[in-house]
Amino acid sequence: MSLGKQYQDCEKIILKNYQDLRNRHSDNLICSHIGEFSQEILISLVSLTANSLLKAPYLKGFKRRLEYIIIEIVQNIIAHSDKIQKKSQLAYFMVVEEKDGFQLYSTNTILNKNAHLFVDCINNLIESNTDELNTILKKHLKLAELDKSGRAGIGLLSILYKTDKNFAYELIQIGEEVSILNLSLTLKKEMA
């Protein structure tokens, strides 16, 4: 299958999944975005979430943790979502409020050659318990290393630690070169 066809298939699937999710959560949607992601979009998503929860009876620390996770997920999309054939980004992000907690959905395209790195990294982290995640996080802070692009590369680790590993991922291979990566996270409510 050509790369162009793989892009088209990703586009169809991502758009359909996004619309299905929006329809399913039309009554409890906090914020969502599909298409190109940027720092400006992130600031707007954080602000929308903060305004939605302004009068909600949740602990301040809980609201902040939710905003923090939004930041990490969206910056992860900005940094690691692979653009196919230099076309526009195929990704979406959504936050919905459920009875017991908040559900966050993130989807983006990823090149298969990069997907294996992600899977290895995430599987290692998922196998660790919360204390081990805490130790790994502390080790990263002590090493204080940044990659060539100035990023710490500990976003996923922090997300898993802060969500108590209520995290699931799915990798759907579309063709020889491209896959779709779906992430879903649950943050249980903490009332004031």
Binding site: Q39, L42, I43, V46, S47, L59, K60, G61, R64, R65, E67, Y68, I71, E72, Q75, I78, L137, K138, H140, L141, K142, A144, E145, L146, G150, R151, A152, I154, G155, L157, S158, K162
Partner: protein, 125 residues
């Protein structure tokens, strides 16, 4: 001298030469964390121990991304290094009431740097 106005995603940074207090306050999740923190690291690296003798770092963050936390760890390590060379330094870590994760980060930084970090809680209105 160092000064930077706060934005939606980056903190206010200011240094008072008389009190020798460096304040970093606000959100910290910019797209380019190096652009924000490298000048602060440079400022601390170039800080003249003999002339200035002391430095207080006051940190009070709201939202902080993981890359910012590593940059802050680098800042704290730099301060620890300066202390070993004779600088009288102090870190005050303010966290909002109920923001246990910010307290947790401050405690991790204290543990890895061996600096005595003073913790202050800012109570809700």
């Amino acid at each position: 001298m160092i000064y930077r106005q706060a934005t939606n995603d980056s903190p206010e940074v200011k240094f008072n030469i008389e009190s020798k207090i460096l304040i970093i306050k606000g959100n910290s999740y910019p797209e380019n964390c190096s652009g924000l923190y490298n000048p602060i690291k440079q400022f601390i690296e170039n800080y003249n121990i003999e002339e200035m003798s002391s430095l207080e770092l006051h940190c009070h963050f709201n939202l902080l991304n993981s890359t910012s936390s590593v940059h802050i760890a680098q800042l704290i390590m730099l301060l620890a290094d300066k202390r070993s060379k004779g600088l009288n330094c102090k870190v005050i870590w303010t966290y909002d009431e109920h923001d246990e994760e910010m307290l947790d980060l401050g405690e991790k930084l204290a543990s890895i740097s061996k600096l005595d970090i003073e913790f202050k809680v800012e109570l809700d209105d």
